[in-house]
């Protein structure tokens, strides 16, 4: 995991703190944050590895269109992090390549 703390929070209305777990590390986010915003602020890079070539990616459009922000959230693979709000205790990990279906249900 590359740490990149280039994102800073701008002042805004006060919101309740939410504790999430990003790659095994406890991180404080705020109610209303998207998972994508929270992990970027926490310095997580990359947030996924691509399905075919295993190359690192990070959130891009932040509005549900580009699918670059896919992550594993609470054990579910390929979730759009930019479209998911943080919840207390949420467990978030990097999406490693293509989603593995076999063994998920069988």
């Amino acid at each position: 995991m590359v740490e990149d703390l280039s994102f800073k929070r701008l002042p805004c209305n006060e919101r309740a703190a939410v504790e999430i777990v990003v790659e095994g590390r406890k991180v404080i986010a705020y109610e209303g944050d998207s998972v994508a915003a929270a992990v970027m602020h926490a310095g997580l890079r990359p947030t996924r590895k691509t399905a075919l070539s295993d190359v690192g990616r990070a959130p891009y459009c932040m509005m549900g269109v580009c699918f670059e922000c896919l992550m594993n959230i609470n054990g579910k693979a390929n979730i759009q992090a930019c479209m998911t709000e943080v919840r207390e205790g949420m467990v978030i990990t990097v999406q490693q390549g293509a989603r593995e279906l076999v063994g998920e249900i069988r």
Binding site: N78, R99, V102, E104, I105, R106
Partner: protein, 375 residues
């Protein structure tokens, strides 16, 4: 397209109207015979089955009402590897042809029985042999471990396969242009005027002349055909397609309803609707497609869908192709089918040779004459 940078030539030995898979394959094949070929394409507003199709190279069951259609389909399937090799070798584009056989999965016993009867009847009509197998659920599971429990079985066709139709189209355009062909965004061809052994094409973006003209305009052939004395009673039939996210490979053979691409994308489809020229999608049909796909592969239950679209098949009244030269205006040809992917290798091979040189293919083309619709 880089071609629009060059000004299109005013006349060609052969003009192909329609820059989809059918037109491009034929243009490429005619060009191989040493003729100068121009493809006139309507542009991006064209109703384009070549972009919306399912990508199957499919043999089993095709031509159950016309043995010649089964023959040309199998001929094309046999020639497909050569076409794919040629395109990949010369363009560097891997069109992802996989031809290790395909499965038509049947949900109910009666569906399976009906299909078995159809294929058995076809085998009777083909003394050269018509390979297929009927698999019960257990046999099917040995081939596809992730098939669902509520399946009756499947029919197996060893000649079936699939390809990436978009890479195919890309490779065809590249190959055609690299051999000197011109691909012209001409807008709609509004009129074809036969003129002392030549043809004048009046398109929105210009007027062009040619010695031979091939109508490969899909649904547009209905309007264009009569201009050169050929009836093409084609009508649209919509298929809707669902695209799921990329997942690790688990569907190892293409099926008639669900396939997984080399990249891991799962494509589900095979609806048929008569809705005119509407290329939209509807929730109820997409739900049916999804339900069938999940019954076939329960693992799909939690998979995310990322896209859906509708595309129009080009159907003749009996579902079979038309290959026809105009009796009234020799030198004008019409080609139409609903399987531009499967028939790609036949089109770029024997059909193109027939148009370029008059050489008769091994399959009797008389059976594909449009006069059958007048009986």
């Amino acid at each position: 397209m880089t071609e629009s940078m060059r000004s299109p030539r005013g006349s060609s030995e052969v003009a192909v109207i329609g820059g989809g898979l059918v037109g491009l394959c034929i243009a490429l094949g005619i060009q191989r015979q040493g003729l100068e070929v121009t493809v006139y394409d309507e542009g991006d507003i064209a109703l384009r089955a070549s972009r919306g199709n399912f990508g199957l190279v499919w043999v089993q069951g095709k031509g159950d009402n016309l043995p010649e259609y089964a023959r040309i389909t199998r001929l094309s399937a046999k020639l497909w590897a050569g076409l794919a090799d040629d395109l990949t070798q010369h363009t560097g584009i891997d069109i992802q042809l996989q031809q290790q056989g395909g499965l038509f999965v049947c949900l109910t016993e009666s569906e399976l029985q009906h299909r078995q009867q159809m294929l058995a009847a076809m085998a009777q009509e083909h003394p050269e042999g018509y390979p297929f197998e009927v698999l019960d659920l257990q046999q099917l599971r040995e081939m596809m471990p992730d098939i669902g429990p509520e399946i009756a079985g499947a029919t197996w066709g060893p000649e079936d396969g699939h390809v990436n139709p978009l890479y195919l189209m890309h490779a065809l355009v590249n190959r055609f242009e690299s051999l000197g062909g011109q691909f012209v965004n001409a807008g709609k061809v509004n009129n074809i005027v036969p003129q002392s052994g030549q043809f004048l094409l009046q398109a929105t973006q210009g007027t062009f002349s040619c010695n031979k003209v091939v109508l490969a305009a899909g649904l547009g052939n209905k309007e264009l055909g009569p201009m050169v004395g050929i009836e093409a009673p084609v009508s649209p039939n919509r298929g809707q397609v669902l695209i799921a996210e990329r997942v690790r490979p688990f569907i190892n053979y293409p099926t008639g309803h669900v396939r997984q691409t080399v990249e891991g994308t799962v494509q589900c489809g095979d609806s048929k609707e008569d809705v005119g020229l509407d290329t939209g999608t509807t929730t109820n049909i997409l739900a049916q497609i999804a339900r069938r796909a999940i019954t076939m592969f329960p693992l799909l239950k939690d998979v995310n869908l990322v896209r859906s679209w509708g595309a129009l098949r080009i159907m003749t009244p009996d579902g079979n192709p038309i290959y026809q030269q105009s009796e009234q205006y020799p030198g004008a040809y019409l080609v139409t089918c609903h399987s531009g992917v499967t028939l790609a290798a036949a089109h770029s091979g024997p059909i193109a040779d027939w148009i370029a040189t008059g050489a008769n293919p091994t399959v009797d083309l008389e059976a594909f004459h449009g006069r059958r619709f007048k009986l």
